[in-house]
Structures are given as C-alpha cells and as structure tokens.
C-alpha cells in the first residue's frame, strides 16, 4: 500500500525555483493498479521518484507498505522514463542486474530473465548490447528488468512510450495477466488515456504547474479486459472521453 499525504516538491534553481508538485494526496491500496495521467511536465515522474525514495519531498509524507519512505527499498521496483541500460552489459545481463544486486542465485534468475525477454519479443537479442538495439527494444529490456524481481510495489514511468501500437497492446495484455496472477501494488504513468482506462483500477489525473491531483476516476469495467475488444465498449469510450475532458480543462500552461 502506498500513501502520499500532502506532498509538495519544489526544485530550486538559479533561474527561479520550480514547484513541481503541490500538496498531492494519493492512496494506492495493496495490489491495486493506479494509472497516472497528466500533461507533459506536470510532475508525474517527480511523483514516482518521490514514492521510490529517490527524491525527498519538500513537505508532506509518503509511506509504502506501512513504512515511511526514507530511501529506496528492495520491495519497490521502478521503471524509469529512460531505459537507463548499462552499455557494457548485454540485454540479458541488464535484466539480471536486480537479481545480482539482491544476491540471489544467478542461474534461476537467468531462466526467468530469458522467459521475460522472449515474452517481450526479444528472443534473438539476449546477447546484444544496448547500442545494438532500437529504442523500443531498449525500453522492453528495461521493462523486463523491472519485472524480474516480482516486486510487491511496481512503479512504471511511461513504460510503453517507445513502442508501436501493436507491441504496446501486447505488452499491456501481458502486464495485465501478470497483475491478475500476482497483483502488485502498481503506479503506472502513461500518456495514453486508453491505456490508462484499459489497465487501471483507478486513474489519477494531475494538473500542471504546480502538479495537483485533479481527479481520481474509478474504472468499473470487469477484468480481464481484452484490449482489442474492450476498447470498443461504451463504458471505456465514456471513461476515455471524460478523462480527455478533465485533462483538457486541467490547464494549458
């Protein structure tokens, strides 16, 4: 469970400080899947980094699985907005990094890493280095790295932004299957309203500068939501339209 209470974050800078987030409140229940949408620059990545313990809030408190966040924890996996792959490791080696960091047996980890890489469509690319991969391939490697530890808390920052429409649907379906099989408490930042509606239990809309929670919409569509078919459901269309409107109102800089 994640509890964000009255959290603000300001970035100091010579050319004037930027208030990225202002008194954010957000609660994600155990095993819940919350999507976060908002305009570019409204503070979504900042929010994830705060929850992950990479940044300290200027004010307010954050608790994750009952403990106040002071530093990153092994129970929380973060998939950053950039792939952030180690250039000297192969795709497989990059996926195995968290296994090594947690000092778990490499052999078992490697089996799972190969399964994950195969599942995201990188079957022939296990032994390629990041600079031999396309942008979307790098992102999928980063996705595997976030998933390999089966974390209790999963934070994902636009995990599918570099993927084409079809691969994206594919990945979303797999993510949903994983989530249904073993629900991790998930915060999923995305730019696609559709994706948010199809994956999430609830969708939080942030408004920009400073970022505030504008609305949290509960999505009451039964799972599993097959992305191809469900996308046509009137309930989905309604949610998407509503969120679109909220987003549009939520401020043009």
């Amino acid at each position: 469970m994640i509890v964000v209470e009255r959290v603000s974050r300001t970035f100091p800078a010579r050319s004037g400080s930027v208030a990225a987030l202002h008194e954010i409140d957000l609660t994600v229940a155990e095993g819940e899947f919350v999507a976060v949408i908002g305009r570019s620059g409204c503070g979504k990545s900042t929010l994830l980094r705060l929850i992950a313990g990479l940044l300290e809030p200027t004010s307010g408190t954050i608790t994750v699985t009952g403990r106040a966040v002071r530093a990153p924890s092994r129970e929380v996996a973060l998939m950053q907005q950039q792939p952030a792959l180690l250039p000297w490791r192969t795709a497989l080696g990059n996926v195995l990094l968290p296994v090594e960091m947690a000092r778990q047996p490499r052999a078992e980890g490697a089996v799972r890493a190969r399964e994950l890489l195969d599942a995201v469509g990188l079957a022939g690319f296990h032994h390629r280095h990041p600079y031999e991969l396309s942008g979307g391939m790098q992102q999928r490697v980063a996705l595997c790295r976030a998933l390999i530890q089966r974390p209790r808390v999963l934070l994902m920052d636009e995990p599918f932004s570099a993927l084409d429409a079809l691969t994206r649907e594919d990945m979303a379906a797999q993510l949903q299957a994983l989530h249904l099989a073993r629900p991790a408490t998930t915060v999923f930042v995305t730019h696609s309203i559709q994706e948010a509606v199809l994956l999430a239990d609830r969708v939080a809309v942030l408004s920009p500068r400073p970022g505030r929670v504008r609305e949290v919409l509960t999505i009451d569509i039964p799972r599993p939501r097959s992305l191809g078919r469900s996308a046509a459901l009137p309930a989905v269309a309604e949610c998407v339209a509503h969120l679109h409107d909220v987003l549009a109102e939520s401020g043009d800089d």
């Binding site: 980094r49 530093a71 990153p72 092994r74 180690l86 250039p87 960091m101 280095h129």
Partner: protein, 252 residues
C-alpha cells in the same frame, strides 16, 4: 590494406621523427657530445647490447611493480574519497600538497630510510604515478549519469555493489586516461630514482655514461627508455580496447 596502415603509420611517424633529428644534427653540425645522431646511438647500442638490455629489464621491473601498486591503491583511494565526500574535502588538499613535493627532494630521504635496494625506487614510482590515477578515477567515478545512479539507488545497491557493478565500469574510460598518463610517469619515476641511486637500470646508465661523457651511450639508454615507455603505453591502451569496447560503441 588496413593491416598495412595500422603498422605503417606509426612506423612512418617514427622514421620521420628520426629523419628530422638526424638532419638537425647534420645541418646544424651538432657534435655527438651534445646530441648524438641516430647512427652514433646505434653504434653505442651495438657496443653494449647485453648490458643495456639487462638494465632495461631492471627498469621495467621497477616500473611495472610501482605502477601496479599505484593503480590498486589509487583505485581504492579514489573509491573511498568519492564514497565519503567529507573525507575527500579533508584529504584531497593534503594529497595535492604532498604530490607537489619534488620527487627529487624525496629521493634522498627514501634512500636514507629504505636503503639502496629496489624498495625506494618502487616507492618513488608509486609516488609519482599515484596522483593521476586518483584524479582520473575520481573524475570517472563522479561522472555516473543521473539515470544510472538512480537505477543503482532504486535497486538498493550497497555502496560496494554500486561501485563494482555501475560506477566503476562507467568510470573505466576516464580511469584509463589516468592509467595512460600514469604509466608514462611511472617510467620517468623509475628513471629519476635510478639517476639518484644508480645501482642499476637505464637511469643509472644515463647518469653514469653522462658523467663519463659517453653521450651516445646515454642516448642509447634514453632511446631504449622511449621504446619501453611506448610499449607500456600501448599495452595499457590495448587493455583499454579489451576492457571497454562499449565505450567506443556509444561514442562517435
């Protein structure tokens, strides 16, 4: 074709440099006593090949031992200093100050303390090439891109893991700048030590033949030294190619 060029170009450079030197001694009529021409040096080398090679071997031994110690301790120190910035602020100035103490002034003290064996020479080599290794490694270790250090932190890496798995590999290309400068200085350090305490090595050949006015022999030793230094430098450069192929791949 590429094979020929890869050997040919350095050769061309060396030959050109030799030609300029030779022409210079001829055109300006410089006496071998001041600056011998290449043939004088070859003659000197052919007079004493076994002696020169034996002394070169002893210089290499001192150089490599000292360099090895400097690399290991320099690497560890750089890791410690970058891990605890307060320690860095407290000790780096002292290190800089110590580094500037002229080695020539230290050499006598070393002999007084450590005697005439290889020890004071190795210590001098360590002292002289330690600093570039530390400075370059520190620069490398503090240049980890934000996204990688965030990755490392988000994985709750221990300090040691963060260094071994992320910061150090990332620092390698910069560290090699320190190693390349360091290996050249190590050779110089060995020679300075040998000049000071000429019990053996090419430095001893230089100073002893210098005082007996056998300038060509001194230059034969210097030429060997140059060869040796170049070989060690390219050995380090080769190691770099081997260890950090990815660095060339992500830059262009």
């Amino acid at each position: 074709m590429t094979r020929i060029r890869s050997a040919g170009l350095p050769l061309l450079g060396a030959v050109t440099a030799l030609a300029i030197w030779w022409a210079g001694t001829v055109v300006f009529g410089i006496r071998p006593f001041f600056l011998p021409a290449p043939p004088d040096i070859v003659a000197a080398f052919r007079r004493e090949p076994a002696y020169l090679l034996r002394e070169a071997g002893s210089t290499v031994a001192v150089t490599v031992t000292g360099f090895g110690i400097a690399v290991v301790t320099g690497l560890l120190l750089a890791m410690v200093l970058t891990a605890w910035r307060a320690l860095e602020r407290a000790t780096l100035p002292v290190l800089v100050a110590l580094n500037s103490v002229p080695k020539v002034a230290v050499a006598p003290l070393l002999v007084v303390w450590l005697g005439f064996g290889a020890q004071p020479k190795i210590v001098l080599v360590v002292l002289i090439c330690f600093f570039p290794v530390v400075v370059a490694t520190m620069a490398g270790l503090t240049s980890t891109p934000v996204e990688l250090s965030e990755l490392s932190r988000s994985l709750s890496a221990s300090v040691w893991q963060a260094y071994v798995k992320i910061r150090l590999p990332w620092a390698l290309p910069q560290m090699f700048v320190g190693l390349k400068v360091g290996i050249s200085l190590a050779v110089i350090g060995a020679v300075v030590a040998e000049i000071n305490n000429p019990t053996g090595g090419l430095g001893a050949v230089i100073v002893l033949s210098g005082t007996s006015f056998d300038t060509p022999l001194a230059f034969a030793a210097i030429a060997l030294l140059a060869l040796l230094s170049t070989a060690l430098f390219y050995l380090v450069a080769g190691l770099e190619r081997l260890l950090v192929p990815w660095a060339r791949a992500i830059s262009g």
